[in-house]
């Protein structure tokens, strides 16, 4: 949203992919353009994402 000015998972800096054959298991990754803004963690209501400072990663 912040970069593309639209909700667009295909262009988001966070990628969420369902694992093949495990339809309730997901893999979360980030593209190189992620600038650690923390918006995704802010809107994750399940605690799956937690923002850490770069040094903690």
């Amino acid at each position: 949203m912040r970069f593309e000015k639209a909700f667009n998972p295909s262009k988001a800096r966070i990628r969420v992919r369902r694992l093949v054959g495990a339809d309730t298991e997901y893999e979360i990754s980030f593209t190189g353009e992620c600038d650690n803004c923390g918006i995704c963690a802010r809107y994750c209501p399940y605690g799956a994402l937690v923002q850490e400072s770069r040094g903690d990663a």
Binding site: M1, E4, K5, A6, F7, N8, P9, S10, K11, R17, R18, V20, D23, T24, Y43, P45, Y46
Partner: protein
């Protein structure tokens, strides 16, 4: 083709003719958006304009009209609602099914707010929508597979995607069929899968598109959503919801285990097995996009002979009635029953009600083994499972059950046709002799269609509105929160009670608005929306400033159109009457339950119920005699009057 350029909307309508294998897009008419907002407001309007009124639901001319709303795909909590309008085979009503899952989001990301499917393919196909790549794909190899297998296979081919499949019941044109979205939630009770099956349409797949969803004012939207999420995260029952899902919120109902028998004339109370612990151990929560409440689930049986069996969509309506020896056994049976229903695509409620009537007729000797193909209609679990399989395939006596309660009773004859307890040919949720005559009951009576599952109960207004005996002050506060006009509040409420008929009109309009916007109306999401916040969200998403009253008018327009669709094919005031059985007390061993008002202060006669209906029509500005919108009201709302 250029898209309409209003934020919150993808801007296009996709048209698919299965007969001609023709696919086209049109720009979404901004006039429609201004008049109906989106969602079911527009699917109803498209149905009114495109479907010949008296169309055979299973003919090529019937349409399946899929819709999303302006909230779909945004961060508004619970904004994943998909709306599907068609003429349903169970009772011939025009109805809109609604359900969650990822489909609405995926569709909108491909650039479409609405899809209109018509015609009939000469061979099995599935529709794949992936941005501008829209195809009818061969489905010969999928035909015959159950709903869950179909989703698994199509995910293998098209992930990331969302799938609406049909199972054997849809393929065999079973009227009491239901489908699902992504295995996570049911869609279209009353035969939507049969409509898909009649078109040789095995599934609809929305692949995650690349087009993005714009909003007008991101900062305002985030501020409003932040406020809502703060309240949602501190909701005292959120933990119960995440741990137990829908069952966690309704376990008090199933624990009561009231068994109504003898064709809705007798009641017995038994202690249901306590399955809470095993359920919680078996469950993994699943959420729709943007939903912070995750009431859906994957369920892996933790113990018992079928340990490790995996299924979805378990809400245990049958719990306590499947003859389990203990909690583990009862839970196992319930999971197996629901798994079978969902894989076949048979509506467990509609199946349960017709099976029970047939068992009653069998026990009193009206029908016998010669009618059932030798099957003894007992309540045994094995018989129930076998009957469901036979229903899905229209095999033997299953063919009698497949078209639902009224058709089955008519086929039996011998007086059975006078026995079904129903409203507009659809099953009743909750017996009003137990619940009292609140909005949940009145809304079932006056709902123009009844099919479609939750679309048939619009009585959920604010929080916990299914609960019994809530204080009148609480109802009044909620009516004020959803901006019921002040003069109406004076008509609806007295110091000690409320008019269920009048209040139902506003509960319906609030529900209608959520369907226009594309947001969930389950009570634990709905309770966090109020009229002001919702209007603010609408303007943040679309850039269109609208007052709560203006949004209400659009929602009322959508509801009147929903009514008009059904008046046009012959539904009338007589169809809004409650079942005759409700006017005789429900009898237990040492207690009786007559039909009473919501606060259980007095017994209601048929004349009292007529008065409640009069109040409802009066509050709607409709004709009391016919129960239909007046030409004057339709003209005021800018709806067709001819």
């Amino acid at each position: 083709m250029p898209s309409m350029d209003l934020p919150g909307y993808a801007g296009q309508v996709l048209y698919v003719d299965l007969t001609k294998r023709h696919i086209a897009t049109e720009t979404l008419d901004e006039g429609l958006v201004r008049q109906y907002i989106g969602g079911w407001g527009i699917t109803n309007r498209l149905a009114y304009d495109l479907i010949p009124p008296h169309v055979d639901p299973l003919s090529p001319e019937n349409c399946i009209i899929i819709g999303t709303g302006p909230f779909t795909g945004t961060i508004v909590p619970g904004s994943a609602e998909l709306l599907v309008t068609s003429r349903f085979p169970l009772n011939g009503a025009y109805c809109t099914a609604c359900g969650g899952g990822h489909f609405a989001l995926m569709l909108k990301l491909s650039g479409y707010d609405f899809v209109v499917i018509t015609g009939r393919s000469s061979r099995p196909v599935y529709l794949k929508v992936a941005d501008d790549d829209v195809q009818l794909c061969d489905a010969e190899d999928l035909w015959g597979r159950d709903s869950f297998e179909t989703v698994d296979e199509l995910r293998e081919r098209h992930e990331p995607c969302s799938v609406i499949p049909i199972g054997p019941a849809g393929e065999n044109l079973v009227s009491i069929s239901v489908t699902s979205i992504d295995k996570g939630g049911t869609l279209g009770s009353g035969g939507l899968p049969a409509v898909m099956g009649s078109k040789n349409l095995k599934a609809i797949v929305a692949v995650q598109g690349t087009k993005g969803i714009r909003v007008a004012d991101r900062v305002k939207l985030q501020r409003l959503v932040d406020g809502m999420l703060k309240r949602i995260m501190s909701y005292r029952l959120r933990g119960t919801l995440l741990e137990g899902g829908f069952f966690g919120m309704t376990s008090a109902w199933t624990a009561l285990s009231a068994r109504i028998s003898d064709n809705w004339s007798r009641i017995a109370f038994t202690a249901a097995p306590d399955v809470k612990d095993i359920h919680y151990r078996s469950r993994k929560p699943l959420a729709c996009p943007s939903c912070p409440c995750a009431d859906k689930e994957r369920n892996r049986l933790a113990e018992g002979p079928e340990a490790d069996m995996v299924t979805y969509m378990t809400h245990y309506a049958a719990m306590g009635s499947l003859g389990g020896e203990d909690a583990v056994d009862e839970y196992r049976r319930s999971v197996m029953f629901l798994d079978a229903a969902n894989r076949y695509g048979v509506c467990l409620f509609s199946f349960g009600i017709v099976r029970e009537l047939m068992a009653f007729l069998y026990q009193n000797g009206t029908i016998g083994p010669e009618d059932t193909g030798g099957i003894e209609l007992s309540e045994s679990f094995e018989t129930t499972m076998e009957l469901m399989r036979m229903t899905a395939y229209r095999e033997g006596f299953g063919g009698v059950l497949a078209d639902g309660l009224l058709a089955a009773a008519r086929r039996v004859g011998r007086g059975a046709e006078r026995l079904p307890v129903h409203i507009k040919g659809y099953n009743v949720f909750g017996d009003a002799r137990l619940t009292g005559m609140g909005t949940q009951t009145v809304s079932q009576m006056v709902n123009p269609a009844r099919c479609g599952g939750c679309a048939g109960i619009a009585g959920s207004m604010g929080s916990a509105s299914y609960n019994l005996g809530r204080p009148v002050e609480q109802w009044r506060r909620e009516a004020e929160a959803i901006a019921v006009p002040r003069d109406a509040i004076e008509r609806v409420f007295s110091p000690t009670s409320f008019s269920a008929g009048r209040l139902t009109r506003y509960a319906e309009d609030w529900y209608s608005l959520s369907n226009c916007l594309g947001r969930c109306h389950r009570l634990y999401i709905n309770r966090f929306f109020d009229a002001e916040t919702q209007a603010g969200l609408y303007s943040a998403v679309t850039g269109v400033e609208a007052t709560p009253a203006e949004l209400y008018e659009a929602a009322e327009r959508a509801w009147n159109l929903f009514k008009l669709l059904n008046v046009r094919v012959g539904f009338h005031r007589g169809d809004d009457e409650p079942p005759e059985a409700w006017f005789s007390p429900l009898k237990g061993d040492d207690v009786e339950f007559p039909l009473m008002d919501y606060y259980k202060t007095r017994v209601l006669s048929q004349r009292d119920v007529e008065g409640i209906l009069d109040d409802y029509y009066d509050e709607r500005g409709w004709d009391r005699k016919t129960g239909a919108p007046t030409a004057q009201r339709l003209a005021q709302l800018g709806l067709p009057t001819g």
